[in-house]
């Protein structure tokens, strides 16, 4: 590495005003382009226009269904076990069909506890839970309302039209 010492700017360079003028030129350029419609405004007008989340974005959870409309979930408790925030609460019940072992009677996720790590999705052996809803804004009035139940989780669609 070589350190070079350069003489300070002379003449108009040394007055600082020259650089002020250059900076003012830049900012007024942006203003004029904005006023006459040339500048692409990056702002999304939020409630009306929402951002499309990128693929792989971990949003609100959803439960997938079998073709019969039942939850794919077999209540194996893998997700509840791996969850670092302990926000998944499953109660298993015996399935009427003898070929199917168990199914979730309740499947609750406490969104206030959830850290959106995606471990439940990784852990699931039957691909029953995903976080691809693309929903990132959920506000509510009571703490209880942040606990989402099985029905809602099953109803939540994917942000992408064709889930694999």
């Amino acid at each position: 590495m070589k350190v070079e010492r350069v003489k300070p700017g002379v003449g108009i360079e040394s007055t600082y005003l020259w650089h002020v003028a250059k900076g003012l030129g830049v900012t007024v350029g942006h203003t004029v382009r904005h006023l006459f419609g040339g500048e692409p405004v990056q702002t999304k007008e939020y409630p009306e226009v929402r951002k499309e989340m990128p693929e792989g974005y971990r949003g609100k959870h959803r439960l997938l269904q079998k073709e019969s409309g039942e939850p794919k979930c077999t209540a194996c408790m893998m997700c509840a076990t791996v969850c670092p925030a302990a926000c998944i609460h499953i109660e298993a019940g015996e399935h009427p069909d003898p070929k199917v072992e168990k199914f979730p009677v309740t499947f609750d996720i406490d969104l206030l506890k959830c850290v959106f790590c995606g471990m439940c999705v990784e852990a699931c052996p039957v691909d029953a839970i995903r976080m691809d809803s693309g929903i990132y804004a959920f506000a509510d009035f009571q703490r209880d309302d942040f606990v989402v139940h099985k029905d809602e989780l099953l109803r939540t669609p994917s942000q992408w039209s064709d889930p694999v």
Binding site: M1, K2, V3, V6, P8, V20, L24, Q42
Partner: protein
């Protein structure tokens, strides 16, 4: 009849009080709007655009300023424990009071001569001291800052107050010296006479505005004005990263609102002084008051017609705006807002065009020409003032903040000697009868003197430091 004339005098005082306070107090919220919208445009954002009066009138974001005021007024006013309550409450009052009183000496139009016996100046305060009033009042604003900083019983407030005080005191001196140079240039301390003198022509074609006669004085004064009103790049008193909000950290509700509004009132007042001293005040370039009054018969219809044309153009632009952006955008009454203004502007344009037609070739009543001249001058003054306010906003969103020692260096080591040399040379040049003709060239000599001073005349230790930029270059590794 004497009582009538006396009451006319009182009326005139009342009128000009209302006019100048009105200009200050309407330009102030407009500046806040300019600040929010200007910063947005500079940063490629749309800026405030949602709040609507009566669910319909967004006014391009002006409604947000009103919403801000409602928010500030309705917020709880917290006075923390351990503060000195008297000074705590006094401080925002002082800070808001100063710019209002300083603005009073600014002439917003030339002396209006309604009849041969009745004339009224258009600055609220016509005193012999003139600009000395400005020195006296601006220095007082330090007290508000000191009181706020000390009475808050908070480290951040105290540090902010101290910084601000030191800065205000340091920049007062070059600012005053720059103004003294302007007094020498125009040979008067009266703001109105100064503006009058700026109507004359330099070399036969250029108005003798301060900015042309004293370019260096202009830069000095504007720089100091930035420092005086604690604005970027000199807003260290409220450097968020270090001091939370500086001297008004502990204030909330409308007491904070007063500080906030005082900041913008000070901005408008500084702008008004810059306009008065350097941008020709109420002068319409190449149109002195006498010509405005004498040719009111032709100018009045032209101006009215021009306004009608501008209103029509604005209405057309609004229709286009409606078609392009607003139609169906929100899905409520806000969509229809431009149409209301299209109708309003069209009606106003018709009225102006009608008035222009009526005034064309008509014999004007005796009181109309001076009033017309005054109205034109007030509009021109307000226009220049708004431009200056935009410049303050523009600089704020362009430049980073100085470090504290840099601020002090700039003030004491650069601006002070510069303003002294400027004063000296202005005095020498103005002694000559042809003084004003060569005055625009003096900055060259001033800068030369400054360079000599910093390079050779100062004691060795204080000379221009051999600051060197370090350039680190990676050498290619073999």
């Amino acid at each position: 009849m004497s009582w009538l004339l006396a009451s006319a005098d009182y009326l005139a005082v009342l009128l000009r009080l209302v006019l100048s306070a009105g200009i200050l107090l309407t330009v102030m919220p407009l500046t806040i709007y300019l600040e929010r919208k200007g910063s947005a445009f500079i940063q490629d954002r749309p800026g405030p655009n949602r709040a609507a009066l009566f669910g319909m009138f967004r006014l391009g974001g002006v409604a947000h300023v009103l919403a801000d005021v409602i928010k500030l007024v309705s917020k709880e006013d917290i006075i923390p424990g351990g503060v000195n309550r008297f000074y705590f409450k006094l401080a925002p009052i002082i800070v808001a009071f100063i710019p209002l009183t300083t603005f009073m000496i600014v002439p917003i139009a030339d002396v209006v001569r309604l009849t041969d016996t009745f004339a009224t100046p258009m600055a609220t305060l016509e005193i012999d001291g003139g600009l000395l009033w400005f020195f006296a009042m601006t220095s007082l604003s330090v007290y508000g800052v000191v009181f706020a900083g000390w009475a808050s019983n908070s480290k951040f407030s105290l540090l902010g107050g101290i910084r601000s005080t030191a800065q205000l005191l340091s920049y007062e001196i070059p600012m005053a010296l720059a103004v003294v140079a302007m007094m020498l240039t125009y040979g008067t301390v009266q703001p109105n006479d100064m503006v009058r003198a700026q109507g004359e022509l330099l070399w036969g074609f250029l108005p003798q505005w301060g900015i042309f006669l004293q370019p260096l004085g202009f830069i000095l004064f504007v720089t100091c004005a930035f420092a005086e009103i604690n604005r970027v790049p000199f807003d260290l008193a409220e450097g968020e990263a270090e001091l939370v909000a500086g001297y008004h950290t502990e204030y909330s509700g409308m007491r904070f609102g007063l500080f906030f509004m005082a900041e913008y009132m000070a901005l408008v007042t500084s702008g008004a002084l810059v306009v008065t001293m350097f941008l020709g005040g109420w002068q319409v370039p190449w149109l002195p008051t006498e010509r405005l009054v004498a040719e009111a018969g032709t100018l009045l219809p032209v101006v009215l017609g021009g306004i009608a044309f501008l209103l029509l153009a604005a209405a057309g632009r609004l229709i286009r705006h409606y078609q392009l952006y607003t139609r169906g955008r929100w899905g409520d009454a806000r969509d229809k807002e431009p149409l209301v203004f299209v109708v309003l502007f069209s009606v106003l344009a018709l009225a102006h065009a009608g008035a222009a037609g009526a005034a064309w070739g008509a014999v004007l009543p005796g009181w109309l020409p001076p009033v017309f001249a005054a109205l034109v001058q007030i509009s021109v003054f307000t226009g220049k003032l708004l431009f200056l306010c935009w410049c303050f906003v523009w600089v704020r969103w362009t430049m980073p903040r100085f470090r504290y020692d840099q601020v002090m260096d700039l003030g004491w080591k650069n601006l002070l000697p510069l303003s002294l040399f400027n004063l000296l040379l202005t005095g020498l040049v103005m002694l000559q009868p042809w003084g004003r003709q060569v005055l625009p060239a003096t900055p060259v000599v001033t800068l030369l003197l400054m360079w000599l001073w910093k390079r050779y005349l100062l004691p060795a230790q204080a000379r221009m430091p051999a600051t060197q930029r370090l350039v680190v270059r990676e050498e290619p590794t073999a």
